[in-house]
Amino acid sequence: MSARESILRGRFWPIVATGVVLLALPFLVRDTFFLNAMILVFLFGAMAQGWNLIGGYAGQISFGHAVFFGVGAYAASMLLSRLALSPWVGAWVGAALSATVALAVGYPTFRLRRHFFALATIALGEIARISFLNWRFVGGAIGLYLPLEYRNRFGFLMWDSKRPYYLVALALFALATALVAVLDRNRVGTYLRAINQDEEAAEMLGIPARRYKLYAIALSAVVASLCGTVYALYVLYIDPYNVMAGRISLLVVVIALIGGRGTVWGPVLGAVFIVMLNEYMRSWLGGTGSGADFILFGLLIVLISVREPKGLVGLLQRRALPEALPIQGASDDQLPYAGPSRVMPPPDTFPDSDVLGTGEGILLRVSRLHKRFGGVHAVRDATLEVRHGEILGLIGPNGAGKSTLFECITGFLRPDAGEVRLGTARLDGLAPHRIAWRGVARTFQAMRIFPEISAWDNMMCAQEHRGEGLADASFISHLGPVTRQSRVLLETFGLWDMREFPAGALSYGQQKLLSIAMAVLRRPAVVLLDEPAAGVSPVLVTQIARHIRDLNASGVTFLVIEHNMEMIMNLAQRIAFMAEGQVVAIGSPEEIRQNESVLDLYYGR
């Protein structure tokens, strides 16, 4: 039984039971204060779920979600009072507006460091508040009363009693939670987590990071906007102070954060805890409360940020989990070797990667490449050709420009001059994920895997992303060929037993193997390895070399930077020698060993 099945079986009946109790509650309890508190739990809980998508999974923190809430409230209210348009329609107009605003803020700021997005959302909140306070058309500071003649009609979502509101809010809450649960289980959830942990590494694997983040924030804004619409219909009066207040933005952050961001149940727990505490404190202490609960929230947030990033959910999970199993082979790097035959299935089981040119042709061509950093000319006029099906070693002293060359080929750096071609297609100038889509894969010198997700999920991030639609990634789980191929690779590399462990818990050597497995999973045309043998034991160096050779035998082309001369001379068919930003010599290992300039520049003869 897989972990997922056991979770499902263990959780299915409790969820159904909770649902039944929640549905029955408004018919059993008449306490309006309690019902009101529950409605707020549902609405702000649903909104916190929406926030969770962008702030939790994608790690882009928004302090301005009240704007989306407010747009939803204003759009539906205005359409209802001016045009008598049903909120069933108005809600979606508001949602579309909110999503547009969210995309407009996210598009430019997602490429910057994460603080900028957080700051932009604070500014957005203030801009919206001041604008709406002074915008006569929507009532300005006086606010807007909703027309009461539509009450008690389902088509207008307005009632006299609290019970129907309770049910509507509950439905919204359940839908938002279900949305997050579905995304969490499917590819989008895995990708967002990976992007949160290391955006560049995700891009290198071909995950279009910004597209997924924009998707997350648009969904997030839609959920918040729908909550705003329902809230307006519930309170029947809106002004900038009650629907566009910074207080609301902060409340949802607090709910998601204290409950546990990046988890499905965090916002649920958080909403019950925070909103109930908030409401009952207010009734005990009178007025708006003394702020004592907010001091407590603040302290909790500080504690969570330092000690327990997963909030209440993290605390509960910690108690529920037995102590972690010892990881096999974590202490040494003695890994079983499964033999060469299973490394790669025959090429025809793969989806076509448009490997351009076959036979002995040139696969990757770097011509006259230049890259400067200020005064340092890291790559100057480098020219290099990788032949189809070969292992080409790239050696040279430190600072020769080898890694910079990799950065230029993979699109993380933009070369100042020159061009990079894969087959006939030009790569320079393309975004890293597009270069990955063309069939280039790489590993990093300082290893970059996603430490907080499992080794298996790391593999899933490494699948082919070209042509992968958002809808597919949201609602369809991983595809059969991908999981089969991942299994073969993990078994071959001796990592299969550790697939459920967070990748960060693997030993250094295992992480190294995992990163190579990730690079070759989608069977790219060419794989660039940046010092695969650095920092691992001699036993593992031989194993890694063997894996590379086997993969090469099954048709994968490699370009390998390496300082371990023994390994690379035995592994590569050809060696290129780089010094001072240029490829000085290229030839068979024998030729390179005897080349005058190599002996001068590298061995310091």
């Binding site: 790690g59 700051l119 500014a123 801009i127 702020g291 603040g298 969570i304 940020s305």
Partner: protein, 287 residues
């Protein structure tokens, strides 16, 4: 024209105070790459401190400096020791949340202690106004601007001319190397927090004679400070000065010429535009 000139003079004076608020934020950011969302809450608390010294002890804001400044230096030092130290190597999100939690604690502590009411100092020694270039400026504001300029000068001298100042710069550039060279990096960082927080406290004292305090004034000032830092360029002391001046001038001139209601809107709008088109700031280098 006269109106414009008056607005410009007001803008420069206001801008210098904004620059002083932004200084601590930018300084801490530059030294240890931590963005302090609670920065403006320290401004709010120092304004309360100045107010209560005046209201209860009849101590003039100018005389409050030697009392409030050391207090906030210790406050900043402790913030580093008790909180920031633990999140230096944490993820960006954890850093944002840690100072966000601090913001909550400080703001609502003020709420609990002083209530939601607005307090202001309504009478003090620096009354009257001074005439510059045919425009008039309140003496208290002029003094505030002078204090801000002086603070920049002192910090610049400290960083360029003293040994601890140079050690601080070294620690900012590379903690590990600085540590290996025997620079007490921990103490340098705590010192940076002490300096950063006491400089924003100084801004609070300077603002007190003409600006009222309530628990929620932090929001606007936080954004103004961020706008100044973004405009000038991150982590640069001179950037805070240029950015603060630019924001003060923009707010004052656009507020006078168009409408005072929207003056903050202009500031935040410029902030967002900068984020969109030139996030490295006016003085910063392109990425």
């Amino acid at each position: 024209m006269e109106l414009f000139l008056q607005a410009a003079v007001n803008g420069v004076v206001l801008g210098l105070v904004y620059a002083l608020i932004a200084l601590g934020l930018s300084f801490i950011w530059g030294v240890m790459d931590v963005v302090n969302l609670a920065h403006a809450e320290f401004l709010m608390l120092s304004m309360y401190a100045t107010y209560w010294l005046w209201a209860l002890g009849r101590i003039e804001p100018a005389l409050a400096v030697p009392i409030v400044l050391p207090l906030f230096f210790v406050f900043g030092w402790l913030t580093y020791r008790l909180l920031i130290r633990h999140i230096l190597r944490a993820s960006t999100a954890a850093q944002i949340f840690a100072t966000f939690g601090l913001l909550f604690v400080l703001r609502y502590s003020a709420f609990a202690a002083f209530g939601p009411n607005v307090y202001g100092i309504w009478q003090q020694g620096l009354g009257g106004s001074v005439s510059i270039l045919g425009t008039f400026i309140a003496t208290a504001r002029l003094v505030a601007a002078g204090v801000a300029l002086a603070a920049f000068g002192v910090l610049w001298l400290f960083l360029q001319r003293t040994k601890p100042g140079k050690a601080l710069q070294a620690a900012a550039q590379d903690r590990t190397v600085a540590l290996a060279l025997g620079i007490p990096v921990e103490r340098m960082f705590a010192l940076a927090w002490g300096i950063g927080i006491s400089s924003v406290a100084l801004a609070g004292i300077a603002l007190s004679p003409f600006y009222q305090v309530s628990p929620t004034i932090g929001d606007a000032f936080l954004l103004i400070a961020f706008a100044s830092v973004v405009l000038g360029g991150f982590g640069r002391v001179d950037g805070a000065l240029v950015g603060g001046l630019a924001i003060g001038l923009l707010e004052s001139i656009l507020g006078t010429l168009i409408s005072p209601t929207f003056k903050l809107l202009f500031v935040f709008g410029i902030f967002v535009l900068m984020l969109l088109f030139r996030p490295e700031g006016l003085l910063g280098q392109a990425r």
